[in-house]
């Protein structure tokens, strides 16, 4: 097995080759919060040649969650007085409200709302069973890797008092939108290993096949990420693009068929709003027929709040859109 130092040596040699000397920078985008975390933790940016730029794309479920939905979740907790459960990383994301009003779910809890962080859909079911007389709303944000467990939760059967405010998003449609926009802002793509574990590698094959850009699916160790970086550099150097699977231990053709079947059974693909980006066709999920009685957006419709900025607005100073579109470097 090739180790990190060996991969780095190969990458350095390739970056000094004539193919890259003519390019000022080679920009590689990742679309996974886990990749970004590993890249940062392992210090990969410092270790790579200066001409290789690693840019984070729209791969953070918190950054892409539209603020209207967070505002809706706050309303459900404070106005509808339902118990609101969500993954802990959503608690501190701010929304547009007048000064002095509740702007995060954490503040909603401070203001008397029953807001509880959870680590799994299994906990949402347990809490709903413990509170049979109260509506419990699971505000579920995430990508395919989270949508599949939510689908499993629904398919396995949930109590009548459990509702889902679905904020799940699909990864490939947003990357496809970037590629079709003509301002993709990257020369190669590192595709998300766990999304491909669930959905299969196939959808990412359009990156080289249709858009002529190198692509590789990576896992989460420095070795796997460096292998993917080396792969896309080599593809560019040789002028031969293909989708390389650098995470074969988990990414198999067709992904996880049982997970895809549960997704297809309980949810259907819909257009969706992305924070700071706007509506992207076929990039979100909504509950399918047969599951709508658990739709929190139907059970607790959003009430208009006077003074709020129009949908799609961003809080002052929020650079999420620039970051997720690869046009701004995160701090």
């Amino acid at each position: 097995m090739t180790n990190a130092a060996q991969w780095l040596a190969r990458i350095r040699a390739l970056a000094l080759s004539p193919a890259f000397r003519i390019m000022p920078t080679f920009r590689i985008m990742n679309v996974c919060g886990g990749h970004e975390r590993s890249i940062t933790m392992a210090g990969l940016r410092r270790a790579l040649p200066a001409s290789i730029e690693l840019i984070p794309g729209p791969g953070c479920p918190v950054c892409v969650c539209p603020e209207e939905l967070i505002h809706h979740a706050i309303q459900i907790a404070l106005v509808d007085r339902a118990t609101l459960v969500c993954f802990g990383d959503m608690l501190r994301v701010p929304v547009n409200v007048a000064k002095g009003e509740v702007r995060t779910l954490e503040q909603a809890r401070g203001a008397g709302g029953d807001v509880r962080p959870i680590a799994s859909p299994l906990e949402a079911v347990r809490i709903a069973r413990e509170l049979p007389d109260r509506p419990v709303v699971f505000f579920a944000a995430g990508f395919e890797t989270t949508a599949a467990p939510v689908a499993a939760m629904l398919a396995e059967g949930v109590p009548d008092n459990l509702f889902v405010l679905l904020a799940t998003r699909l990864t490939w449609p947003v990357v496809s939108m970037l590629l079709n926009s003509g301002e993709a802002g990257f020369d190669a793509l590192i595709a998300p290993g766990h999304v491909a574990t669930v959905m299969g590698p196939e959808e990412w094959a359009a990156v080289p096949a249709v858009h002529g850009k190198p692509a590789a699916i990576a896992g989460f160790t420095p070795e796997s990420l460096l292998a993917a970086i080396y792969s896309v550099l080599r593809q560019a150097a040789e002028g031969r693009c293909f989708l390389d699977n650098c995470y074969p231990e988990l990414v198999r053709p067709g992904g996880n068929p049982a997970a895809r079947a549960q997704l297809a059974r309980t949810m259907r693909v819909s257009e969706a709003n992305w924070r700071g980006i706007g509506i992207i066709p076929a990039s979100g999920l909504e509950l399918a027929d047969g599951w709508r009685q658990h739709d929190a957006a139907r059970r607790f419709p959003e009430v208009a709040t006077p003074g709020r900025k129009p949908a799609g607005g961003m809080p002052p100073g929020c650079g999420c859109a620039g970051v997720v579109l690869g046009r701004l470097a995160a701090d």
């Binding site: 993954f87 299994l122 890797t145 467990p149 669930v198 160790t221 420095p222 988990l250």
Partner: protein, 71 residues
Amino acid sequence: MEVLAIDGLMARCGAKGVERDVSLFLLQDQTVAPGDFVLVHVGYAIQTIEAQEARSVWELLDEMMAREQTE
């Protein structure tokens, strides 16, 4: 994580001294037994993984964490 025990569609799984209850609902079309390794996301096993691969990933992640802590 390593599957330690299975009760219906739930499994007790362990990784590096931490134990969790994990749903096997999304692996119903695969045979999973104690001693197998699974990739877990938000409490659900989403894929099986060879034991050797899982151990080497653990080692690499340990190395990464250790490096971060010393920096």
